[in-house]
């Protein structure tokens, strides 16, 4: 297993290299650079912009630029954000906790709801409640995340005033206190619900169907023939089997969150990486843009890796020695 893991991890390296090349060239091919559009007679002048272009190395040959970028990158120097005028790594360090927090809470919602609904529906398929859950899921699957976000703000923030519509924390609180954490939680609930809802429906449906499938398996019949109580059959025998694929989804959830964060964070003005990406996109903040694009790809790689490894770990059938 260890050997397999190491090999699997090493295999990421060439992928990362290729992705970095692609990211670099895409960034290069993008129109303009970070300084175009910075024309403002009050704040800067053409000489300043030309000087910055030279200084930022925009006029060097391509391979030099790539080499400089990638070597710096490997050493943890992601460059300086053109928009925020600060090291990208610091910028990301500021935003990352928010995105992680949002991701974790939304995953929590996803799994919590999916388990509650999926298990119930799977245990009692074709009942009224199962149909209700199914109907609800169909609807959830059909509502694009951004529309859900817009509805949520409209309803919960504007009309009902239950939740804030933007930000990640109440400024007046000191960092680290209980109130501060509560406030963070309070701010994250709505976006996390929206983001979490994306996965909930499909996971619920998956769990339900898998439980139904599994409950018709031979080993369930065996368990019954042993005189195992029904509750134990569901909570142990069936659930354990159904949870395995679900756990491996955890890896893919990272991908979902990357894509989802882009939208949710923007809608809820939640200062995380997704929002940062769109801002850097709009402002041609290439160092940030490239770092984030590479980082997101890296996350996807990691997500797939985790999915693979988890699969090997949780499923005894394919556990590799």
């Amino acid at each position: 297993m260890l050997k397999y893991t190491i090999r699997r991890i090493l295999a990421i390296v060439p992928m990362l290299f290729l992705i970095s090349v692609v990211v670099f060239f895409l960034a290069l091919a993008m129109p303009g650079d970070a300084l175009s559009g910075e024309i403002d007679p009050n704040n800067s002048d053409p000489e300043y912009i030309e000087m910055m272009r030279e200084k930022l190395g925009y006029n060097d040959p391509i391979h030099v630029q790539y080499y400089r970028w990638i070597t710096d990158f490997i050493q943890g120097d992601f460059g300086t954000s053109v928009k925020y005028k600060m090291p990208v790594e610091d910028l990301i360090a500021q935003r990352l906790p928010n995105t992680i927090f949002l991701g974790i809470i939304s995953l929590l919602f996803t799994y919590l709801f999916a388990f509650a609904m999926g298990m119930y529906a799977g245990k009692k398929p074709y009942t009224k409640i199962d149909h209700a859950i199914g109907g609800f899921n169909y609807l959830m699957l059909a509502i694009p995340i951004y529309i859900a976000g817009v509805f949520a703000i409209y309803l919960f923030s504007f009309k009902l005033g239950w939740f804030p519509f933007s930000g990640s924390v109440d400024i007046a609180l000191t960092e680290g206190t209980a109130e501060w954490w509560l406030s963070r939680l309070y701010h994250v609930i709505l976006p996390a619900l929206v983001l979490g809802a994306m996965g909930t429906a499909s996971y619920t449906q998956f769990l339900r169907n898998d439980i139904i499938d599994n409950s018709q398996k031979d080993y369930v019949r065996t368990a019954r023939a042993k005189g195992t109580p029904e509750s134990r059959i569901y909570n142990q025998h069936i659930l354990r089997n159904s949870v395995i694929p679900l756990i491996t989804f955890l890896g893919f959830d990272i991908v979902t969150i990357v894509n989802g964060a882009l939208i949710t964070e923007t809608i809820f003005t939640y200062p995380g990486l997704g929002q940062l990406f769109l801002t850097s996109m709009q402002t041609n903040d290439y160092p940030t843009l490239m770092t984030l694009a590479l980082m997101f790809s890296f996350l996807v790689l990691i997500g797939n890796l985790i999915a693979d490894l988890l699969y090997g770990i949780v499923d005894p059938r394919i556990r590799v020695e």
């Binding site: 018709q216 019954r224 042993k226 499923d315 059938r317």
Partner: protein, 338 residues
């Protein structure tokens, strides 16, 4: 006249009807089956695929798929208890402890995500208050008893790490863990290779003798029946067509179906140019004729009445019952082609 010593029977099935819901209608997959199992005896059940062998055994276990299948009529009396009336919880006390069952597919009958040890322990925990150490000790003994070497290691293994034969041994260990009075073996060797099948048959016979269990042995292999059973039930399309002791059945099969079945199987010890064939197939549940002999449309000896009169199981000789109009009191002369 039929039941000579019904008081002694460990299991008595009377007129069992098991029905399935198919597209909103009920169909009997087992239709009026009656038989007894005496203590310490092995009863073989043979018949083509789809004739209701499994459904019958699941009915006894109370394991018909809920909502789709149910026992629609008749009685199942085990050890004086009417199983068909028992609620699930009470049934759970009996399953695995007094009646246990092993299945055809050793590959899928074990839960892939639990260790062998865990699954074996479970049956003990289901029925006894027993400490973990004791349980482990017990299961190692059990595995030993079914001829698994190095049981200490096996209990930590997962099912996929075992071969088919080993798994079937584990299933047997599981089934005999609580020393049940009755074991239902539903085609326990069909999926195995001949050499492994021989091992398992040997093992079952051994255990049966040691524990003085009764076994209902379901198979479609007449050879297996001949070698390991005391009595045989031949089923066709949800009904019993013939019932006899092994010796009688193999020496003088009476029902045309039984005869054809025997003739259709090539045998090692004799050479025939041509095998018997039974034309057609077992009718599917929904196409089952409601009156008449269900074999009539495939029977080379079928008569006009066969499609009108439902034959009853009648004792033809002692310990040999058959359900066929050919053996009814007024034997009609004329044979009717279909």
């Amino acid at each position: 006249m039929r039941e000579v010593s019904n008081s002694q029977a460990i299991l008595e099935v009377k007129n069992l009807e098991s029905a399935f819901m198919i597209e909103g209608e009920e169909y009997n997959a087992v239709d009026g089956v009656s038989f007894q199992v005496q203590p310490g005896k092995v009863v073989g059940v043979v018949g083509e695929s789809g004739c209701g062998k499994s459904v019958m055994s699941l009915s006894i276990m109370g394991l018909l798929p809920k909502g789709i299948g149910k026992v629609a009529g008749g009685e199942i009396i085990f050890d004086g208890k009417h199983l068909e009336q028992l609620p699930d919880q009470k049934m759970n006390k009996i399953r695995g402890k007094e009646i246990s069952m092993i299945f055809q597919e050793p590959m899928t009958s074990l839960n892939p995500v639990f260790t062998i040890g865990y699954q074996l322990e479970e049956v003990l925990h289901n029925h006894f208050k027993i400490s973990k150490e004791e349980a482990t000790k017990k299961i190692i003994q059990l595995l030993d008893a079914v001829g698994i070497s190095r049981p200490n290691k096996i209990i930590k293994d997962y099912p996929h790490q075992l071969s088919g034969g080993m798994r079937q041994r584990v299933m047997i260990a599981m089934a005999i863990a609580c020393q049940p009075k009755l074991l239902i073996a539903d085609e326990p060797t069909t999926a195995l290779d001949v050499t492994v099948q021989a091992q398992i048959l040997e093992l079952l016979q051994d255990i049966q003798r040691k524990n003085d269990m009764s076994i209902i042995f379901i198979t479609h292999d007449l050879g297996v029946v001949a070698e390991s059973c005391h009595e045989v039930i031949v089923m066709y399309a949800g009904r019993i067509v013939e019932k006899a002791s092994v010796e009688r059945l193999f020496k003088g099969p009476k029902h045309p179906y039984t005869k054809l079945l025997m003739g259709a199987i090539p045998r090692l010890d004799e050479t025939v140019d041509e095998l018997e064939t039974i034309e057609g197939i077992v009718p599917t549940l929904t196409k089952m004729p409601s009156v008449g002999c269900r074999f009539a449309n495939r029977c080379p000896q079928a008569m006009k009445e066969c499609v009108e009169v439902t034959p009853q199981l009648k004792e033809e000789e002692s310990n040999h019952e058959v359900a066929c109009l050919l053996y009814e009191a007024s034997r009609p002369e004329e044979e009717v082609s279909r």
